[in-house]
Subunit: 125 residues, 2 copies
DNA sequence: GGCTTGTATCGATGTTCGTCTATGCAACCT
DNA sequence: AGGTTGCATAGACGAACATCGATACAAGCC
């Protein structure tokens, strides 16, 4: 249940000279990959799920705790969790009866640095 | 043509103690607002458009330069630019015959800091 | 073994989205 | 004024998506 997510976000762990939205025009394939990740964030339910998971101190959240937090059916929540996992933002493991999800902070960090504007870059607005 | 974008991304310009995905669970309304912005980034064409605009040194790009870069009709590009503008990520101005678009770096910066993981926060993956 | 509970998958359905063609509007040029 | 070019808007259409109920699977309990 644990190795289905895409490996879309680059590998430079130091986060120094990474790929950036505002550095050079994205090529088509890369844009498609990254758009998939942003699309996973582009739903209020998934954003709340990810926030609930990522802000958890222990790092892990049981599905049984996530589902009742929404006015949605259990299959719907399960579906959203699957999409977040396929986007590489979270992962999960079954332990006995329950399934636990946790965030993948490196994925979030890479996304954040991708959006970071290098230096001056406009200064409009 | 220039005051249609939403004001969804918060106001703290110092970027220090800002709202963060992994700090506390998002409430429903805020999640809906932010999801709208991520949804705007969740399309390959829009991501390439934004990248082309944000990476431009002068800061501005003429639509007449964006449209021919895609295998899409001119109205389709215009539609995507409109969505990016409504998300508060870019803005535009008509100057004579041509319309120029530029990125709003503060919006990108706020998104980036929103995704930034505070400290340890898991260390899994 | 059978029952119960937690979670995932399947199939259907209404809505949203990306794209197109056709058209409208704004600015330039004779 | 009339024609041309650049860009936006309107309406239509197929594909993708969010949601549901029904069902399957996994694990614990009796």
């Amino acid at each position: 249940m644990s190795k289905q997510e895409l490996e879309v976000l680059g590998q430079d762990t130091d986060g120094a000279c990474c790929e950036r939205l505002a550095s050079a025009p994205l090529d088509e394939d890369r844009a498609t990959e990254l758009a998939g990740v942003f699309k996973a964030l582009g739903d209020p339910v998934r954003l709340r799920l990810l926030s609930m998971i990522a802000s958890r101190d222990g790092g892990e959240v049981c599905v049984c705790e996530l589902t009742p937090a929404f006015d949605l059916s259990q299959p719907t929540i399960s579906h959203h969790l699957k999409l977040l996992r396929q986007a590489g933002l979270i992962d999960c493991e079954r332990r006995g009866t329950w399934v636990y999800y946790w965030a993948l902070p490196e994925a979030l960090a890479r996304l954040a640095s991708f959006l970071t504007v290098p230096q001056s870059a406009g200064a409009n607005a």
